[in-house]
Symmetry: C2
């Protein structure tokens, strides 16, 4: 199955984030398998991302995307049956230059958001990306 893996640094405790993720995942479950890996350190992040060919970092200064461009990016990497894509969201301290140089940086906004809000934006945009690809009414 097509797999999207989200890597976050540091523990996310807020219940509302988990509820929102569940809400979108329920809608996405026939399309994609979603994995959320919470790592403790950047070393652990480097180890865990090794098995995924296409991993992107979310960064305010990265390449700014609109919903259609993000949908195309997902479509590009998830064309085949067992294709995988990964996204990294830093903790409150951000990400080191080593990580930012290793992975391509994409941006949802020039604004700074909390990690929790960035996770929510990512999940909703993944759901929207599949709706855009299907040409559904969700994205107008």
């Amino acid at each position: 199955m097509k797999t999207v893996t989200l890597f976050t640094l540091g523990k996310i405790r807020e219940e509302w984030i988990k509820e929102m993720i569940q809400k979108y995942l329920k809608r996405l479950k026939t399309e994609v398998s979603f994995q959320w890996v919470q790592v403790k350190s950047e070393n652990q992040l480097l180890a865990k991302t090794k098995e995924i060919a296409n991993v992107y970092c979310l960064d305010a200064l990265g390449k700014l995307m609109d919903s259609e461009a993000f949908s195309q990016l997902l479509g590009l990497h998830l064309q085949e049956g067992n294709a995988k894509i990964g996204f990294i969201i830093g903790g409150p301290e951000g990400l080191s230059n080593e990580i930012k140089q290793k992975f391509p940086l994409i941006s949802f906004s020039p604004m700074t958001f909390t990690s929790q809000i960035t996770i929510l934006l990512l999940i909703e945009q993944i759901y929207r990306a599949f709706e855009i690809a299907k040409g559904s009414k969700y994205h107008k």
Copy 2:
């Protein structure tokens, strides 16, 4: 007191949005009074926005702002004691050209988000704007 008014079109029922708003408002209550006006139509929107000199529409195609620029915008309009600023967030159908031509358009992202997520982004950025102005650790 300084007042920020949020105008939304259509009813927002989700409890998590109300909880998130309350969470940020609790932290903001010494700085600013926040009002949330849910209008049923654009005519009602035009009537209700009349008493506020500076009203902005949030639109994906508006002037893209980063958190610092948004903080400056708020600071500019809320310098004085009883200053007011307003923000309009459209419903699932978006806003008419009449509304978009009447108010300056600002953008938090070229991406399309749901109204609920846009409200959350706005509230968090208002809180962040005051923290930026104070030079606090919240915004790094």
